[in-house]
């Protein structure tokens, strides 16, 4: 089986500036990768490349059997991205947002309610405009969308930011559950103490390049020896 993610000397240029400057990465299905690095290191650009939203300028990239940039549109439908902005509509209720997203993705809109309850969005909160919810609640709604969509590739941009302790625990459970279900997870983080324990692979980036790759702290039945 081909790896879920295979990048070779991947370069992404924004304007005239190389935001990714030759990234190599192999990640198997069901693995969790945490990406560390200072602001501007290229973490978010890596997520955008893996989601098919950023255009590969040079090198090769194959994600979920889709070759980039040609098959970016096919890749996007299999990807769930939780960014700093959850990318939903402020004037819609959480359930309306999820139902719209699920219908757009040709999935069952009835999954919305269960997913929202799983992240603790129910009752009055579920009937409040998204724009009136707190940052943490909005991110929970974003997580609920990932739960409902069940993408094959989870891309999480600093997922712990703005979450309370119970939601952080829930996030770890969701990541583990997704990985055990065969999904691949790539998460950027500024909080290694929270993110490294849930990772199989930990990358450190600087200046758009991976400067270090090591094993994470996630315990897996098949061991970590298969992670290069």
């Amino acid at each position: 089986m081909a790896p879920a993610i295979s990048l070779r000397s991947a370069v992404v240029v924004a304007g005239n500036y190389p935001v990714l400057s030759g990234v190599d990465l192999d990640l198997e299905h069901g693995h969790v990768c945490v990406v560390l690095g200072a602001n501007g290191a290229g973490k978010t650009s890596l997520l955008r490349l893996l989601s098919g939203l950023a255009t590969l300028t040079a090198g090769t990239a194959c994600v979920l059997d889709c070759t980039l940039p040609d098959e970016g549109a096919s890749l996007r439908r299999q990807v769930g991205l939780l960014g700093h902005d959850v990318g939903l509509w402020d004037d819609l209720y959480p359930a309306e947002n999820l139902r719209f997203a699920l219908r757009a993705a040709r999935q069952d809109p009835s999954l919305a309610t269960e997913a929202l309850e799983r992240v603790g969005i129910s009752g009055k909160t579920a009937k409040t405009r998204l724009g009136l919810l707190s940052e943490g609640q909005r991110r929970r709604v974003g997580l609920a969308l990932l739960i409902a969509r069940r993408p094959q590739l989870w891309l999480l941009d600093e997922p712990h930011a703005g979450l309370d302790a119970s939601t952080r625990l829930l996030l770890s459970e969701l990541v583990e559950s997704a990985a055990q279900g065969g999904a691949t997870v790539v998460a950027t983080s500024h909080e290694p103490e929270l993110s490294v324990p849930m990772a199989d692979v930990v990358l450190t980036m600087r200046g758009g390049a991976v400067i270090e790759q090591r094993l994470g702290g996630r315990l897996r039945p098949r061991g970590v020896s298969d992670v290069a």
Binding site: G87, D91, A104, R129
Partner: protein, 222 residues
């Protein structure tokens, strides 16, 4: 494409119904424009009636740009646009959905403004058979051009000032043809052949709708 268009139009109309920006901001702006034109021309019933077609369409044009700004704001930030791309929404469907939602608002606006010019500018409609198709075709063309140029204008920080500069010159044919068709439908001016101007409006609507269906995706990608 049509399924996605329906989804997007439903979403936009739901958001509009909840925020009521069209009712409390766009519509009053259009009525205010019309009234200010009337004040500028002075209390001369003949002059007002003669100017009514052009002033009606100028008010619609200005208000349509405002409504299009709102439509682009509903479409959201770059993050919501990215989210829509990740959901696999057909860009042509998104264009048509936004066009459909905006069209409903502009048609409603035209109805209110028509009542306004009838009341304040002393015009009387004699040919609904020309006026109604002209209002509809012009609205389709205006909305298609606004959504397309709204996408071209990009992010909100420049869109507010750039969109009117892009749209207003481009929709000059709607202003001219709409005014002529309006004139031929009311008891003022010479108007000319209403059907001829309906043809111009139809061509404009078809061209801009087709351009939007083809170009909206590449514009959003870029």
């Amino acid at each position: 494409m049509w399924r996605d268009a329906w989804l997007v139009a439903s979403r936009d109309l739901r958001i509009e119904a909840r925020s009521r920006v069209a009712i409390w901001q766009v519509l009053p702006f259009a009525l205010l424009t019309l009234l200010l034109f009337a004040f500028a021309l002075g209390p001369k019933p003949g002059l007002l009636a003669e100017s009514a077609p052009g002033l009606f369409w100028l008010s619609v044009l200005f208000a349509s740009v405002l409504a299009a700004q709102r439509s682009s704001a509903i479409e959201g930030t770059s993050a919501t646009k990215d989210a829509a791309r990740l959901l696999g929404l057909d860009p042509s469907g998104v264009f048509l959905g936004r066009l459909g939602a905006l069209l409903l608002e502009i048609v409603a606006l035209e109805a209110v403004l028509l009542a306004g010019v009838t009341l304040f500018f002393h015009v009387r409609v004699t040919s609904w058979a020309v006026l109604i198709p002209s209002l509809l075709l012009a609205a389709i063309g205006l909305c298609a051009a606004n959504v397309l140029y709204g996408s071209l204008a990009g992010e909100a920080r420049v869109r507010a000032t750039l969109l009117p500069l892009l749209v207003l010159p481009a929709v000059a044919p709607v202003l001219i043809a709409g005014s002529k068709a309006f004139s031929s439908s009311v008891l003022v001016g010479d108007g000319g052949s209403g059907a001829r101007w309906l043809g111009v409006l139809a061509v404009f609507a078809v061209v801009y709708s087709a351009l939007g269906i083809v170009l909206y995706g590449p514009l959003e990608e870029s």
